[in-house]
């Protein structure tokens, strides 16, 4: 069966058509849904793409986080739906409270638009199943990607295996130099406790075909469609 994915669009979202295109490359069917009346029922997964929703006013993702789509995402999360947030989508999921911590201004104060490497630390999510230990090369494009939390939250998510992507060098070593924004513990992406909600700063949709200079992002989307076949998506409902 074809995997059906809802891709959310807020005012200022800019990666929704790229995600829809990348999903089509892995055989998934994507619909772009306007945030104000998004109905996620009947979909297998939801994606909150990158952009600068509401101009990043107040804080990145803060205003999108009080959209009606936030309640719909909370409802879908309670049903165990796989939800992926990339870049601004990651910031939005943190602001909604579906993911722990917050994303603040890069420590060096610079906007970074470049390729980075991340090591996949957990395969207990529908977006990384079978990929643990792999190093993926993906682009980032953000000014506020430095993930922070209090020490207790950090200890808890590390102990629970909720860190999913960590900035590393091409060989998979989490060095200081490999960290593009000063993020705590080189964290590039993480999951909620159940593993169904995942956020990451890199853009998998921008590296899903050779024309774009890389195809590693496609593996994240392929993991989603494969998870559906192996039942991991429905298993995460429990």
């Amino acid at each position: 069966m074809t995997t059906r994915v809802a891709v959310l669009r807020f005012p200022g979202t800019w990666s929704e058509t790229d995600f829809a295109h990348a999903l089509s490359l892995v055989g998934a069917e994507a619909d772009i849904l306007w945030h104000a009346d998004a109905d996620l029922r009947g979909y297998d997964a939801a994606i909150v793409p990158g952009g600068f929703t509401y101009g990043d006013y107040l804080r990145a993702g803060a205003i999108a986080a009080i959209s009606p789509a936030a309640d719909e995402l909370r409802r879908a999360d309670r049903e165990g739906m796989p939800i992926l947030g990339s870049c601004n989508g990651f910031q939005i999921l943190c602001e909604i409270g579906l993911l722990p911590g917050a994303l603040v201004r890069n420590r060096h104060g610079e906007f970074r638009c470049e390729w980075v490497h991340t090591r996949i630390e957990s395969d207990r999510t529908p977006f990384t199943a079978g990929l643990r230990g792999e190093v993926l090369r993906m682009p980032i494009s953000h000014g506020e990607g430095c993930w922070v939390s209090d020490d207790r939250t950090l200890a808890r998510i590390e102990a629970n295996g909720q860190v999913v992507f960590r900035y590393t060098d091409p060989r998979g070593a989490a060095t200081l130099e490999a960290n593009p924004n000063g993020s705590t513990a080189n964290i590039a992406g993480l999951a909620n406790e159940n593993g169904n909600v995942v956020g990451l700063m890199p853009h998998p949709e921008r590296c899903s075909e050779e024309l774009l200079g890389g195809t590693d992002g496609r593996r994240v989307l392929e993991a989603l469609t494969a998870s559906r076949h192996t039942g991991m998506v429905s298993a995460s409902v429990q």
Binding site: L58, I63, G101, A102, V104, V148, D150
Partner: protein, 83 residues
């Protein structure tokens, strides 16, 4: 109903680094001003109506809690006055 003005000041928590403040500190030093430290934040001024000061204060607190500040990284203070 009476008109009130709430001034909500949001700033990063002490343990959160403030790269904007650091950049401003560097700029002030380049002007020859000897500054030890700079912290930046934002001031949000809201005009609204309420039945008395307690309700106005509660409303302003709610604005801070639910939207204007993120408790993970920020703290805020509220001042409310009748217009």
């Amino acid at each position: 109903m009476t008109g009130y003005v709430a001034t909500i000041r949001v700033r990063p928590k002490a343990e959160i680094r403030d790269p904007q403040g650091e950049a401003v500190a560097g700029a002030l030093r380049s002007l020859g001003v000897d500054v030890a430290d700079v912290r930046t934040g934002k001031e949000i001024v809201v005009r609204f109506s309420a039945e008395g000061l307690p309700e106005a204060s509660a409303k302003a607190q709610q604005m801070g809690d639910e939207l204007l500040a993120n408790p993970v990284i920020e703290e805020f203070a509220v001042e409310v006055a009748a217009e």
